[in-house]
Structure formats: C-alpha cells, structure tokens
Symmetry: D2
C-alpha cells in the first residue's frame, strides 16, 4: 500500500466560477478519486477551507508526513501564505526519503524552490493547445505513455525554466504557439525523489484525462521510498582500521 498525501491550496475552486465548474470539490479531491485504489490510499490537506480561511499549518503535521510515502503539491495564488515551518517539515521528510510530486504552478511554491536551490521562473500565457512528447519511454513513469499526448487546452509554460538541470528529463512539451518546455523532470534530493509535471491549469479539466492520470499514478509508484531515515546530520565519525 502506497500512502499519498495531496496538498491543494484550494483557492481558485472557492472563488472562481470557471475553476469551480471543473473541480467542484477541489483539485485535491479529483486527484484523490483517481489515485485511490487497492494499491494507493490518499489523504488530502488544504491551505484554505471552503470559506477561504487559512487552515493552521495547512493541516500538515509531523505525524502525517511520517505516514506519507509520496506528497503531491498543487499551489498557485497561495504560495506565500504557506508557513515556513510547513515548508521546513516537508523539506526534511523529502531529504529523509519521502517522494514529492509538484504539479503545474507548484513550480513557484516555496517548497519546490527550496528543493531546487533556484528561483524556478518561466514564461507563461493562457490558453494554448499543448503536445507533450515522451522522450524516455523506458522510464517507469513513462509506462504506457504513447509518443505524445495532446492537451486540448493548457496554460503555456515556456523556457527558460530556471531549474537545475534535471537528473532525468522525461517529457518535452510544445504548444500550438510553438514554445517548448521541460514538462516532466526528475531530481534526487538525498534520499527523496522529486518529480515536476507541468500540466494542470486550474481552469482546464487536465486531471480528468486518462493519459495524465496514468503518468501521475506511475510517478506515485516510482517515488515511493525504498529507503528512509529518521535523521540527517553531521556525525563525528570513526571508521575501523583497514
């Protein structure tokens, strides 16, 4: 059993009619529904409640993270109100071994930027068709992914994406308007794996597409920790005589 926690800021769904129409009870619930299975069990946390009141520490606790294999993060308008202590807690658990998936505008979350060590900026514009190319078909996250996937409507995210070079680049996206983007990227951060996946603007029904669901499900399986420690620190150390 893989234990997933989905974080969603839950802002647009509560104030924007267009988003509410697509994700009536929140992006987190849509993701939960397609992941929940015999193999994966999903909990959700949000930064805001349905009245747009901040939830203390976004509902994230040490106990929750200790019991989480893979954290999925969706955020956009609420990045700056995520408390630094929450970011520190999540960061620590990722380095210790927890997996983390950052979706779409989560590229600009405090947590993703902290993991990358850079500012993670990009070019953007609303409303283009996107074609996502599979450039590493042998990777487990690309299981059952065809040569390319077309998204009827997606926000354009374009290069230069100011990330460190990914350890593995799995997909490159392009658009009807001919920009390009490194759309599916993997990094190792000590014991934890970090996956960035670009699709998922809040106003488009991207997370209902079977091809997108397949990739996120594959990623959950791939990021599940096989090794996790309870502490990482400098150690006064003696090895035996060789």
């Amino acid at each position: 059993m893989i234990k997933v926690t989905v974080f969603n800021e839950f802002i647009h769904e509560n104030e924007d009619e267009r988003t509410k129409a697509v994700y009536p009870d929140g992006i987190h619930m849509t993701i939960k529904r397609f992941l929940d299975s015999d193999e994966i069990i999903v909990r959700t946390v949000t930064e805001y409640n349905e009245k747009l009141e901040l939830i203390p520490n976004c509902g994230i606790t040490e106990e929750l993270l200790e019991d989480t294999d893979v954290l999925i993060w969706w955020g956009h308008a609420g990045h700056k109100n995520v408390p630094d202590e929450v970011v520190e807690m999540c960061h620590k658990h990722i380095l210790q071994g927890m997996g983390a998936i950052f979706l779409h505008s989560a590229h600009y979350s405090k947590l993703f930027k902290k993991l990358m060590g850079t500012n993670c900026s990009l070019k953007w514009r609303d409303g283009e068709k996107e074609r996502l190319w599979n450039i590493k078909p042998s990777h487990p996250i690309m299981k059952d992914v065809p040569d390319y996937i077309d998204l009827p409507q997606e926000e354009m995210y374009g290069e230069q994406f100011t990330i460190p070079d990914p350890d593995e680049l799995l997909m490159i996206g392009t658009y009807s308007s001919h920009e390009v983007f490194r759309s599916a990227c993997l990094w190792q951060r000590v014991n934890g794996k970090v996956f960035y996946f670009q699709p998922g603007h809040e106003a488009y029904p991207t997370y209902y597409m079977p091809e997108i669901r397949n990739i996120i499900s594959n990623a959950v399986r791939y990021l599940k920790p096989t090794y996790r420690v309870s502490e990482l620190k400098c150690e006064h150390y003696f090895s035996e005589k060789l």
Copy 2:
C-alpha cells in the same frame, strides 16, 4: 589561433542539383568561409572528390588530427564508406582532447555513434519550419543567441533521439508540425568535448544564416582543447606513501 578541420562527405553537392544550387563548392567550403578569421583557421577534407571518387582515408591523417583543435563533421549518404581506421583515429584524438562538432545528419555517422555508445536514431521528415529555443543562455555556446531562432525550412528531426542524456542541453527545437528535438547537446568524452547541432539539411541554406554561424563559431571557441595528451592507456601504477 584555433585550428579547425571540416570534414564533408561531399556527395549531394555533386549529384543533386538542388544541393549544388545552395552549396556550389560544398558545405565544407561554406563553413570554411564563415569561420576563417584572425582567430580561426580552417582546413577541409572530403570523403569524395567532385567526380564522386572515394578519397583514400578521406584525406585524414595522424598529422592532420594532431594539428587540429576542433573537427567539424558533416555526413549523410556516405557514412558507411568512411574507413574504420579513420573513425578509430578521430576517436582517439577526441578522447585525447580534440573537440568535435557533429552537424545535422552526422548523428548517424560511425564516429558519432562510437562516441555516444548508442545507435543515435530519431524520427525524420522533410521540409518544415523550425523554431530553435535557447534554454541555457549563460552557456558560452549560446553567446548572443536570442530566445529563439526561426529556420524558414529544415528537415524535421524528432524525438526519441536515442543518445545518452547530454551533459548539457542547450537548445530544444520544435517545428511547424509540432515535433520536438534536443537540437544542441554537449558531452565530455575523456579530455575532448563533443557537440551535436541539428540544423543543416543539405538542400536548405541553413549555413548562411548569421544566427547559425554564430552558434557554430561559439562552439569552435568552446571546444578548443585546453588540455590534451598523447596517449591514454592502463598504467601499472605506484603512488607514494601517504
């Protein structure tokens, strides 16, 4: 002074009217003319002469390679007639420190495949407009390269490009037909740097474009060896007592 040797198979220019119209005295001569300068001196070698007779060892000798800082390679229809000894000689000099630039269809040359360790296949189709995106503007090879460069006509080269992941990915190309390609890639092979650059189908005037010339010139400067050895071999070795 940087000493460049340009290899061109010189087949299409001698048998195809369309190519002859674009490169009347060969792609190698066009490249030579734009590179020759106070800083760079260019020699050329070809696999075939103007009567389409094979030139012994493509005119490549140990002495030439020892006196070459950067080798530029253009080939397509003649890959298999390049003698294995020529490939071995060039490979050895690259590992020892010589730089090497592979243009367009040289992805399928014996020498490039030998350096990569893979088969270097890709998808292709004639005649699309291409947009080349600069994704690493700080790299010396990207000096004075804008966000993107448009090529009015180019052969489509699409992913999956079965290369080892490049050490540095500098440009991603896309096309009017919406394929994508890793179009400018760098690898280190022991002491030598290897650069693959996708533009340059023989029937289009790509090597007359100032933006393309700038990138090839930058690459020549970047690949010039600063360290080169005369032999690489296993060594029976003793270090001093620590």
Copy 3:
C-alpha cells in the same frame, strides 16, 4: 523470474593454479550458484572451454539474448578474441532494453568500451586491501549495504578511470595504498541499464563475500528491463495536426 546470462572468458581458471584454487569450475559457476534462486535463474556461457579452445561465438546467440533479462560479463585476457559480431549482438540487445553488469576487468572488454564511447583505461597494481564506500544508500542497488565494505585483498584500480561521467555514482573505493576509484557506476544506454562494479580479481575469493553477492543480486533486480523493444531505427514519421 529474472533470467540472467553470465559470460566468463574462462581462461585463468584453466591455466593458473592460484585462480583454479579459488574458482575450481570457473567464476561463472560461482556467480551462478549464488544468484540461482526462486527469483533468479542463471545460464552461463564462456569464451573458452576447459581445454582453452575457443567456443564459436562464445555460445551467444540471438535466441539466448532475447531470453536474457540481465547479462553479466567477466573478461580479462580474452577480450580481443570475442568476435565483433557477438559484441554487436549484445550491444543491440542492451540498447533495446536488456540490462548489463560488467565486473572488474570487464572495464576493458570490447562491449563495455562500445557502450561507453571511451577507452575506459585506469591505473592498476596487484594486491591491496580495499575499502568500498556506499555514497548513495537510498539507491536500490545499495539495499542492505553498510557505510563501507572491506575487501581483504583486491587488485588496485585507480583514477583517472576514463569513462563518461556515470549517470549515478554509487560507491567509491579506496585502498591501503590510498588510491581512489569510482567502483560502482550506472549508465542508461537507450532502454538498457549498464552497471560497472569494480571488485573481483580472479585470484581472490571476492565473489564468495556475502556483501559483494548482495550488491550483484541487487543490481540484477534493478537492471531487469521493464521496457524492451525489438528494433531501434530512424523512422520516417508523421504526427497528427495539433
């Protein structure tokens, strides 16, 4: 069930008393015995028979490779007599998805050099104690590997190891004589994973050590293909209109 084929040149065991004493029926049989299990089934092939006569194509066929998940390679004195066609066949299957483990002096095999694209030289000397450090404990190949493993006697292999930078560096070895070596390295070559592991001089009982067996067993599991194709080639390609 994981299907492993172990290749051993089988020379030293047939002509050197010291080696025969350690591996009486060949390194391949020792490896077979510790790998064979409910999960792994092992076949062996050799370059020479017990009378030191060359075996045609080392007993390697297309059918065998098609039915092999992971190829393990041990060679030293017989590299040059491995037929080029055997190298081509194995290379092709690795790019298509088969895993490959190269042990010790196999760094200088034709097949490993072909996969790397470099000459793979190193410094060497007989008979030192070695300490192998685990620098990536979260990697599946490092499962149950402690901080370090001591080998009572091993051939010294020292840097510069003229390989392309590994995609992942898992272990660094050092010696009583204070050289260092990248001792456990991983590369992706199209669909296949390639693992180099330095221990295993023919005259020392390295492949009887439980810690070394654990690493090779882990590698077999990790290199098992999850994606494999029957051909890799350039393709005249049309994608749909976006």
Copy 4:
C-alpha cells in the same frame, strides 16, 4: 580584471590561539594576498570584527555584489548569525550570474544549503593526512594539478555528503584513515557557477600550499561570469507566429 569578494566569518582567528598563529589577520587576508594580481582584484568582508562584534549585514551590500564576479565564502561557527537578507541577496546574484566558491566548512552555510536544496551533512573528525585525487585533469579548474595532492594535516570530511549529485566531480579525497569524500564539486545554478572545495580547516596552513592556491585561482577564473542578468522572473510572454 576579475573582481573577487572574500567573505570570512572571522571568529576562530579572534578567539583560538592555534588558528591565530596560522592566519594572524584572518583567512580572508591570506586568500586575498595570494589572489591579488594583475588579473584578480580582491575585496574582503567579515561577519565579525576583531572584537568579535557582529558587523551589520556582514558588510555585504547590493552594490558590492553587483561589482563582484566571484564570491568566496569561508564560515563555520557563525553560520546561523549570517542574516537571512544577506543570504537572499547573495543567492539572487549567483542565480543572475555571479560565481561562488565555498571552502571547507562553508558546506554548512545557509547560502550553500540554499543553493543545493539539501542539508549538506557529512562525517567529520579532526586531524588526518589527506590525499586529493584529480579525476578530471582536462577541466580548467584542474589546470596544472598533478595526479594527487597530499595535505599533511586536514580535518577528515567523509561520505555520505548529502548534496545533489554534482554536475561535475573534479577531485576525490581520501585520508590516512581511509574515508573518502567528493572534495571538488561543480554545480550550475541558473546563470551562476557554484564550486565546493573541501580543504581548509582553520587550524592548518592549507591556504599557504601552492597546490591549493592554484586550484582556487583556477576556480576564480572559471567561475567569472560571461553572462549575467539583472532580474529573473516569470514573464507573460508572446512569441511570433512560426
């Protein structure tokens, strides 16, 4: 002319007799003296003054950083008192293009950890002999560096060093006590290059060794920005019709 700013916390030299004996006017002044030349001009800043009073913002300003090509950082006991605003300012300038060299215990500085995205812990112990191996002799930072350099006395820093895999690994250190360490590592962070170099415990005269000075001087030349921007941010972007 390359403009270098050396940051030193300047604590041990003011309170520890052993350190004062080695670096009477501070590590920063020793580094300044060997770098200052026709080619390099050095300014210094410190976290503390000679009375161990904190200096506001460590003497670091926007103007200073704008006028700095390469920042060198030495810190140990004072990491936590470096103001977060100073860290933010330096981080921003590095992403924009400024080079940064982190020496020895600076692995645990706020700025280095922010650039890495990990916690950067390691094993340590006082007082071993160290041997530093050059594993990439063709790299410009390894210019004129022999096979290995011996340090008569150095603090042991051992793996696992919890950094992201370096883009380039230039040296591996080992010790009389047989630990190993990735001692010279390079990363790109957007437009800026980051170099970590392990030698330089405050109580040993490491920065007087010509071999160590050569490497730091080489690094200064290599990290000098050739491309630097004044801002990095997400951009609402339109490209032309292809």
